[in-house]
């Protein structure tokens, strides 16, 4: 493949701007890409993330009816025929009306055809709670997709990863779900290297150093986990915070190595705990025979629907204080 990537440069970008920069780059360097979804063309997306693509690339970026099955299904068909569609599902919750096209269709294309067909589509969506969001606009659904062999799943939490992971996803020949977070789109601008090489899938980000416990986390709650680690550091408790922006493929080895070193494991995710991917992480560490000094814990939302009122949601979605409290108890023993 000819190297068409531009020379790397550093720009100050918010998370949303980083996604936008990645989309512009991808449409530039991969003529087979298409960007479409509800309001992504002329309006530029409800969060402004697809702004300018229509102007720059014309018909390759377009608006669609409010028809998630048609959006996702057509992406599967176009991908089978050699296009590289990047489709937006405005809220992860909306993917549920079209799960067939993701689970029964996209995930099967390569396997059932014995590799003669492929479905290189990227599904961009965003999820999670934000103040006032109703129960159908707040769910964290990554575990649903992680249960499906044949899909790749990632959840960037920083502008750099928002850029890099999307570039990797679109260059991949597998169906990839990129789960963004709307509370991050308009966050602080950070230095982002754009135009760099296409990175391989997988890997972890070490967000905090420490040797008293391993904290595995992903998505926007990573920021709260780091805040908790900083607070506990002031108390003399050192957390090794590992962010795993790639959940499939998941870097199990690094997590096991850290848990073996610290002897304690906490998994922190925004999703509710039952059937969450945190359970899988705990099982993999246990299955590797790692001897822990205390039973592993999962910090997540309780198994409740998500209420709209901020005062109600606040007590359900873990914040830095609650994460710190639970991990402190893990390290020191006793009640949380």
């Amino acid at each position: 493949m000819p190297d068409t990537s531009p020379t790397p440069e550093t720009r100050k970008l918010s998370y949303g701007e980083a996604v936008n920069a990645a989309l512009h780059r991808l449409m530039e360097e991969l003529p087979e890409t298409l960007v479409y979804g509800e309001d992504v063309g002329v309006p530029g997306g409800v969060f402004g993330v697809t702004r300018g693509l229509r102007k720059q690339h014309g018909d390759r970026a377009f608006d669609t009816p409010i028809s998630e099955s048609a959006i996702l299904g057509s992406a599967v068909g176009a991908a089978m025929m050699g296009r590289r569609p990047i489709v937006e599902i405005m809220w992860a919750d909306f993917s549920l009306v079209a799960l067939d096209q993701i689970v029964n269709q996209a995930a099967n294309v390569r396997y059932v055809s014995g590799g003669r067909l492929r479905a290189p589509l990227t599904i961009r969506t965003q999820q999670g709670n934000a103040p006032g969001a109703c129960a159908q606009h707040s769910q964290c659904l990554e575990a649903l997709f992680l249960h499906v062999p044949g899909l790749r799943v990632c959840m960037p939490s920083t502008p750099q990863d928002a850029y890099d992971l999307l570039v990797t996803a679109v260059h991949s020949d597998d169906p990839v779900l990129v789960i963004e977070n709307r509370t991050l789109y308009f966050g602080a601008k950070e230095e982002v290297v754009v135009g760099g090489p296409v990175l391989p899938m997988g890997g972890v980000r070490e967000r905090h150093a420490g040797s008293d416990a391993t904290v595995v986390t992903w998505g926007s709650i990573t920021h709260r986990a780091v805040e908790a680690a900083e607070a506990l550091a002031r108390e003399g408790i050192g957390l090794h915070v590992i962010e795993t922006p790639w959940l499939n493929p998941f870097d199990t080895g690094t997590v096991i190595a850290s848990a073996r070193r610290t002897g304690r494991l906490a998994v922190v995710h925004e999703a509710n705990v039952t059937g969450g991917f945190g359970a899988e992480v705990v099982a993999r560490v246990a299955g590797a025979g790692v001897t822990l000094q205390a039973p592993p814990i999962r910090v997540g939302a309780p198994d409740v629907r998500m209420p709209a009122a901020p005062t109600l949601a606040q007590v359900l979605v873990p914040d830095a204080d609650r994460i710190a409290g639970e991990v402190r108890a893990l390290v020191r023993g006793g009640s949380r």
Binding site: Q105, R110, G114
Partner: protein, 315 residues
């Protein structure tokens, strides 16, 4: 005329003989699992596939063996697929209800009712950018006309003038339930008007009629006129699946269906054309011999290798 009719008869016999052999092999054991035969519906696949171009994309349903055969997929790998053999068209990964053979322009059966319709829109959409001039044909039953994904696909194709032909095989039963009981207006083709596309109810037991209408729809599609819905009226001579007790059939229903079924009808037409009965019967005999040979060859093929069960999941 007779020549084309003989060709249609041969194409239909290849499908029917295949399906009858599948039924036998399912009873005898070499084929396992759920199987949906298209006996009685052969004329639709034969007529439609005759006017498809190699670059066109075809998406069928789980009652799709006939569509695969009509599209030109060789018989032995189809039998082998049904028997879980290594040389199956999908190496044993697809089975009866999920054949795919993209190299023959057959982009697959689908076991989800209506699931292929949105995918066909994408195949057509891709053609807008890759210069292939591709049209897409998606096939589904009358039951799928009540699936949301099909409606989304029809609107999506209409809104964007996509070259898609929606072929509804109306065999009057949504699985085991009469479609007439599941809709208020039983002329399903009328729904096309709601999407601003042409819709026709046609004789699905006449390959020539299907050929004419599909050719017309493809012409419109290729000229940028967008999608068409064709409601092809037909009937199953068999159950919804092998093992279906068919207790929903009414007295005398099967006799009526047998009189209208496409192969019997075409035989009558050929006799009326003056084609000797011996020549007509030779078509059936030839098809059966071809089917027997293909099935016998598939029966001797090795089973899919268990060591490959995890392959081809990811790039």
């Amino acid at each position: 005329m007779s020549e084309r009719r003989l060709a249609d008869l041969q194409a239909m016999w290849r499908i029917r003989a295949f399906e009858e052999k599948v039924r036998d092999l399912r009873a005898e054991g070499p084929i396992v699992g759920s199987v949906h035969l298209c006996i009685g519906q052969e004329a639709i696949a034969v007529g439609a596939c005759d006017v498809l171009e190699p670059e066109d994309a075809l998406f069928a349903t789980y009652r799709g063996h006939g569509w695969a055969i009509a599209r030109g997929v060789p018989l032995e790998p189809l039998f082998a697929e049904l028997m879980g053999r290594a040389n199956g068209v999908n190496g044993g990964r697809g089975g009866s209800a999920y054949f795919t053979a993209a190299e023959y322009g057959f982009h697959g059966e689908n076991s989800i009712v209506g699931g292929g319709a949105p995918i066909a829109c994408g195949a057509a959409l891709a053609g807008r950018f890759d210069g292939s001039g591709r049209s897409a044909v998606t096939v589904f039953g009358d039951g799928a006309m009540n699936q949301g994904a099909v409606h989304e696909a029809m609107n999506f194709a209409s809104a964007f003038d996509l070259p898609v032909v929606f072929i509804c095989e109306n065999n009057r039963y949504s699985e085991l339930t009469p479609i007439a009981d599941m809709v208020r207006g039983s002329r399903l083709a009328d729904r096309a008007a709601a999407y601003g596309m042409p819709g026709h109810r046609i004789d699905g037991n006449d390959a020539e009629s299907v050929r004419f209408h599909v050719r017309d729809a493809l012409e419109i599609a290729r000229e940028g006129g967008g999608p068409t819905l064709l409601e092809c009226m037909t009937e199953r001579l068999v159950g919804h699946y092998i093992g279906d007790a068919e207790n929903y059939r009414r007295p005398g229903e099967m006799d009526r269906i047998r009189r209208r079924e496409p192969i019997a009808r075409l035989r009558q037409a050929l006799l009326a054309d003056g084609v000797p009965a011996g020549e007509i019967d030779a078509v059936e005999a030839g098809a059966r011999a071809e089917i027997e040979a293909a099935a016998a060859a598939a029966l001797t093929a090795p089973f899919a290798d268990p060591a490959t069960a995890r392959e081809h999941l990811y790039a």
